[in-house]
Structures are given as structure tokens and as C-alpha cells.
């Protein structure tokens, strides 16, 4: 057991998001500033109150479209004076910025940490069709820690590896394409109620089944849609959070564990990091999966949402296909609404923080046309394969 659960000292007090463009005409920095200033204002703070900055993955590829703005550039642009800042890819997935920021607060270094994530893959893909998280960054021979084991076999997209996980899920549990489709169809229905979503036209099961096969069994509509956007979250020390404008959303528990190799093919094909993450998160709280009122679960690829449903105990292992069948359970008025803003599949690949932004909107009853029933507990999770992190959020 854990002696001290540091995350309980931390709350979310403000959120912000830029326009979500496909593409946007704004620069990555401008998108970032729009999101961050909105978040600071939403919390009722001034920029002078911010004393920490966290970001995943940071400016780790010299500003390429997967993450064009890191903490260094943002610090200078906003003239922030900070006690701590940090960014980098090597952490527990797209929620790493929040997990690190919470540690900076709990350790006593910071009072208000600005966490952000910017992505401009849509505008970059106007002139480079291969721009993506995994378009191989190495020139010449591949010397990357992980990708050298896959690129020689023409694994040129994460889609191939997620498809391998999906195929195994189908094989082991009898999951079907019609079941998997419910993730995409649910996201599309939700996106129709989100003015910022990229894809808002209706989608039928026929539309899904007829969409282009990318890598069996994953079709085009199983893959998220690139966009240009920035999302920002303000984390505050719990005792000062009560003075902010919004009712604080406490971080009740964090999941960040990885008890397997950091690898896309040595890790469990049906569990990834997600099950390690889920076990850790639930070990740090008295709440139970049945207490969750909404789930914002990573859908970079639809199969990952299914794996997160199981990993977080929201349905039994191997049962996600039957759980989502028909779509009623996971609809806005269902027993467990998921990806209520359209997720990344239809809302846009904001890549991680978008789930937390939406969870907060729902907990604060600010989600307007897509607002679900009042609830106090939400779970967010992001990542696939060896990437994984989760947050259990509570509005008291």
C-alpha cells in the first residue's frame, strides 16, 4: 500500500482550449496561448499566480507537428516566473504533464501549475501526408530505442500495432467489427452536439463498415482525426484551490504504473500498460468503478477505448465488445457515457488533455448541448500499448 497519496493534495481549477482546426490558420504558439490564457482566466487567476509549467511530450522533436510548443517556449512567450517546469516524452502517456504537475504541487514546489498540450498535425499534413506521431524521426538508419524493431518490417504507423492488438482481442474474446464500430458511432453521435468537433455529419453502421480498411481489422473510422489545437489545464494546491472561481475538481487517484517492458510488442497484447494503470489507480482510492459517472477514454484508435473500459474495471476483462454492443450503455443518456465531446475519433486528435477538458466541463455542468446527468466522479485515461495513465476526478 501507499503511505501518502500525493495526488489528493491537488485539484483542477481551470481549463482552456483553442479552436480545433482542420487545419487552423493560427500558429502552434498562438493556439497554445489561446488555450493557456483561457485556462488561467477560467481559474480566476492571473499569469503571476502560475509558478509551474508541465507538458507532455514537450518540444521533443525540434518543434515538429506532434508537439510544436514546449514549456520553454511557452514560459518565454508569457513571461512566466516559475519554481519548476518540465516536459518530455518518456512518461506514462499523454496525461504525463498532469501527473508531473501534480507531483510538483504535492512536493511543495508549486501552487498553480499550467499544464498544456499542443498539436498541429492537420496543418502539417497539408504538405506532408506522413506527418504523425510515429513518422520516423531518425534520418538514415533507424537508431531509435523502440522503432528500430518495427520500421524494418514497414510498420510505418501506430495503426499497424493497434490493429495487431485488435486482432488478438477479436481472437481471444470473440469481439466483432460491429461491436468495435460502437466506439466510432458513439463518438460521432456525441460530436454532433459539440460545435468544436471536426466530424459532425451522421454516421451509420453501413458508413462504418464501408469505410476504407487501414490495417485489419481497423478501418478509417477506427482511427482518430488529425487537427490543430491546444488544450490547457490549471492544477492548484488543494488548500488554495478553494479560493479559485470554479468548484475544485480533486484528483482522487492517479494511475501511472508500468510493470512490463516499455515496448509495443513485448507488452501484453490484450492489456498493454492499461491494466497496470487501472490496478494502481483503484488501489489509491476507496471509490469503485460503479461510482464513475462519465468516462473519457483514449480513442486514438477505437480498440484502445475497449481496452481501457476493461482495464479500469468498467466492464469485465474481455467483455468490452458485449458491453458496448448496441451503443446504449455508453451513450450520453446511458449508464456510462463515454467520450462525450466526440473523443478524438470525431472531435479531433487533441491528444490527451482533451479528455480531461471534457471531463471537467461535464463535472461543472458546462457541457451545454451534450451535458449528461449531474455526477461527481469521472475517469479519464490516455495511451495505448506501453503508454498509459489515468486520473480519477471528483467534484465534491
Amino acid at each position: 500500500m501507499h503511505d501518502r497519496q500525493y495526488e489528493k493534495d491537488v485539484a483542477i481549477t481551470g481549463i482552456g482550449q483553442s479552436e480545433v482546426g482542420r487545419p487552423s490558420t493560427l500558429s502552434g504558439m498562438r493556439l497554445t496561448l489561446d488555450a493557456c490564457l483561457e485556462a488561467i482566466n477560467d481559474a480566476g487567476l492571473r499569469k503571476e499566480d502560475i509558478d509551474g509549467i508541465a507538458c507532455w511530450p514537450g518540444d521533443n522533436n525540434n518543434g515538429d507537428s506532434f508537439s510544436p510548443v514546449g514549456p520553454l517556449a511557452l514560459k518565454n512567450a508569457l513571461g512566466l516566473e516559475v519554481n519548476w517546469f518540465g516536459g518530455g516524452y518518456e512518461g506514462p502517456g499523454p496525461l504525463t504533464g498532469l501527473i508531473n504537475g501534480a507531483m510538483a504541487i504535492a512536493s511543495g514546489m508549486c501552487r498553480h501549475v499550467l499544464v498544456f498540450r499542443t498539436i498541429t498535425e492537420s496543418s502539417t499534413r497539408q504538405h506532408n501526408k506522413q506527418a504523425s506521431a510515429l513518422s520516423n524521426k531518425t534520418l538514415g538508419r533507424d537508431s531509435s530505442f523502440a522503432w528500430q524493431w518495427y520500421t524494418p518490417f514497414n510498420v510505418l504507423s501506430a495503426a499497424n500495432l493497434m490493429a495487431i492488438y485488435a486482432q488478438r482481442h477479436f481472437h481471444d474474446y470473440g469481439t466483432t467489427s460491429e461491436q468495435l464500430a460502437q466506439i466510432a458511432l458513439t463518438c460521432r453521435r456525441n460530436a454532433q452536439r459539440n460545435p468544436k468537433a471536426i466530424y459532425r455529419s451522421p454516421m451509420s453502421m453501413d458508413d462504418y463498415m464501408q469505410s476504407r480498411m487501414i490495417s485489419t481489422p481497423l478501418r478509417m473510422f477506427d482511427c482518430d482525426v488529425h487537427c490543430d489545437a491546444s488544450t490547457a489545464i490549471i492544477l492548484s494546491r488543494r488548500d488554495v484551490a478553494k479560493d479559485c472561481r470554479n468548484p475544485p475538481i480533486r484528483i482522487e487517484a492517479i494511475g501511472a504504473a508500468l510493470n512490463q517492458p516499455w515496448s509495443w510488442d513485448q507488452i501484453s497484447l490484450t492489456e498493454g500498460a492499461a491494466f497496470d494503470v487501472g490496478r494502481m489507480m483503484w488501489s489509491r482510492t476507496d471509490l469503485k468503478p460503479k461510482d464513475v459517472g462519465s468516462a473519457q477514454l483514449y480513442d486514438g484508435f477505437s480498440i484502445l477505448t475497449m481496452i481501457w473500459l476493461e482495464a479500469l474495471g468498467l466492464c469485465p476483462k474481455g467483455e468490452s465488445g458485449r458491453f458496448v454492443e448496441g451503443g446504449q450503455r455508453i451513450a450520453l443518456d446511458g449508464e456510462l457515457p463515454i467520450n462525450t465531446n466526440g473523443g478524438q475519433l470525431s472531435g479531433g486528435r487533441t491528444h490527451g488533455l482533451g479528455y480531461v477538458h471534457e471531463a471537467c466541463l461535464q463535472l461543472w455542468n458546462k457541457a451545454e448541448g451534450r451535458q449528461i446527468a449531474d455526477h461527481q466522479v469521472a475517469v479519464t485515461a490516455a495511451g495505448g500499448g506501453p503508454l498509459g495513465g489515468s486520473l480519477l476526478l471528483v467534484r465534491d
Partner: protein, 131 residues
């Protein structure tokens, strides 16, 4: 089809060049006798440095696979199979590869396969065919 090749290092060259002699070489720990992959100077199970590449049978089964249809580059227009093959020597001893010479629609989880090397420059890629 065109391939981006790995940079060879002191740790990984046995895996990528064993095919020169028709050998699939996988690191094995002398202390605990476990194979492991990717290769490394230390055994991840028992932290022994007594590790060395060892020839394995080159036979295994498909743990999972996908048929890629998306032409990520113009040269990759035809569907091809990416698989994770589990070697018969040890449970979960596996790596990503391609399945060659088999109609993609006949590939399935559990299918028995054997290695077939394909030389590209100074790398011998361990590809697999139906056994």
C-alpha cells in the same frame, strides 16, 4: 518493398546479422537460462551479465497479425502482413516481423511459421513463411 534499416550496434547486431549464416540469434541468460528480446547486455529477469546470443530453431507461431492496406508510401500499395511471431523456445519470446509468400487472407493466429532471411545491405531481416 523498400525498407528502412536499423542502425547496427554492439548489442543488436547479432539479431540483425545472424541470418548471414542462416541463424536466428536470440539473447539468452546463462544464469537463469531465459531468452529475452530485444537484446541487451544484461538479463532483465535476474540482472546477470552472463548473456549471449544463441541460435534458436527459427520456428514459432503467429501470436497476432494485421494485413496492412493503407499505402503509407507509394511503394506499399499492395496489402502485406505484419505479425508478431512467438518462437517455440519460450512463451512470450516474440517480435514483430512480416509473413511472406502466404496469401494474406490465409494468415491466422496460431499459424505455424519458420524464419526465412532476406538480405538488405548488411542486415539479414528475419521474415517468416508458413511452416
Amino acid at each position: 518493398m523498400p525498407r528502412k534499416l536499423p542502425a547496427l550496434t554492439a548489442d543488436n547486431h547479432s539479431f540483425w546479422q545472424g541470418g548471414r549464416n542462416g541463424e536466428l540469434l536470440i539473447h539468452r541468460c546463462e544464469a537463469c537460462k531465459r531468452y529475452f528480446h530485444p537484446p541487451s547486455p544484461i538479463c532483465p529477469t535476474c540482472t546477470s551479465f552472463e548473456v549471449a546470443p544463441q541460435r534458436v530453431s527459427g520456428k514459432g507461431v503467429i501470436a497476432s497479425f494485421t494485413i496492412n492496406h493503407q499505402p503509407w508510401t507509394p511503394e506499399l500499395a499492395a496489402p502485406f502482413v505484419i505479425a508478431i511471431v512467438e518462437l517455440q523456445e519460450q512463451k512470450d519470446l516474440r517480435f514483430v516481423t512480416n509473413i511472406e509468400d502466404t496469401p494474406p487472407e490465409q494468415v491466422h493466429i496460431g499459424m505455424k511459421v519458420r524464419v526465412r532471411f532476406q538480405q538488405e545491405d548488411d542486415v539479414w531481416l528475419p521474415l517468416f513463411v508458413k511452416d
